[in-house]
Amino acid sequence: MKKLFALVLTLALTLTFVSHVFANDTSKDVRFDYDDLGVTVIIEDADGLDAEKQKFIADCLAYDTTPKETRAWCWLLGHDYVTTTAYTVIHEARETAPRCLRKMYNFTTCENCDYYEKELIRQEYINCCAE
């Protein structure tokens, strides 16, 4: 049933989108600094996430953790997925400019448990920290 629903939506979306998509994102960003790790995490479009889930996402990206086991409730009924875009900035990754490595992730997590998936979308060096 879910696959059928996905197929119908996919067909509908395919008629709308081709391959190039442009987004104008003006939503609120949330920033977490991990000074001990030299990492900054920025979560885009964080309005729909509570503070606890925002911190969870930031911790997962900063500490590069592995997904935890799912709860029995989610195992039975399935996850309640929410996807957001998040950036990590690894400060002073290089000796010389540009020194800081910024990575963009699509981060999918479950609203009811600690299950998550992260997908690296893009990475580039930025001129954040001085030499």
């Binding site: 049933m1 879910k2 696959k3 629903f5 996905a6 939506l9 996919t10 979306l13 709308t16 989108f17 081709v18 391959s19 190039h20 998509v21 442009f22 987004a23 104008n24 994102d25 003006t26 939503s27 960003d29 920033r31 920025i42 885009e44 479009d45 729909g48 039975l76 009924l77 399935g78 309640d80 997925y81 929410v82 996807t83 875009t85 950036y87 990754a93 290089r94 000796e95 010389t96 400019a97 540009p98 490595l101 963009m104 699509n106 999918t108 998936e117 690296l120 979308i121 893009r122 990475q123 580039e124 060096y125 930025i126 001129n127 954040c128 001085a130 030499e131």
Partner: protein, 289 residues
Amino acid sequence: MLPSKNTKDNFAKQNTSDNVSYDNLSEAYYNKIISKEMKKSPKKRDYDLIDECIKNIAEIKGVKHEFSPEELKSKGQALIMSERIADGSVTNSNVPGCKTDRPARVIPVRRALLIAAAAILTVCILTITVVGMVYDDAAWFFKVIGMSPGSQLRDPETNITYVHADVKKSYGSIEEFIKEENYDILYPSVFPEDNRIESITYSVDEQFETLGFNFESYEISYAVYLNLKDWTLPYHTDIYSINGYDVYYWYDEGTNCHGGIIIHNGYYYSMLIRDYDDFMLIINNLKGY
């Protein structure tokens, strides 16, 4: 206990006037004892006495067969059952071995409880699973329907990302996007067949205003920083002239990619590309202002 010999003799004498032989009287006497015992409750019955009587009746009738204890027991039980049937206290259906009626099946209480528990558990699991599937689909449906403008929702099971179409725009080509959005930037016009541009993201945070070209795989990363302020030029990096642009190049061991930076018309172009041929393909086919 069996009655004494005198009692038997008296009983026989009482019946001689009826021209009944002693054997018949004795048989009647033993049957009467058996009947008397059968009228008692099962706990009070003297089964040894009944067996003894049956044995004596068999002797009177000239049956020479010596009954084993098991045979006596079975004959006694048969006799008891026949008496009970005659009394009307038991029906045929209760008689073990009776072929006219189907015997009742007796299931031990503990096994019955186990079977019941297993049945309840199975029903519960099936119910929860079905309800869960319906709930899951319904919840997902309403979640997609209720997406806020510009948001996206990815289903890891089907690997499909649902995007709210009110803010997102689609373009037939990269050139169309550049023209309609009026960006005077350098953009990659040719890219590998297996790693094409999937989306372009515009983002602004405290430090950066970025136009990110997101390929199907992160092995090609291309981003344009639109607010070039206080940027330190990569002085310690080799500079190559490729396709008419000064490219600050280095091999980045941290990401195992070829890094390149182009600063052109006030914009800062950052590239990290895994394959060297792809790196050269992208730079050699940059187009724009």
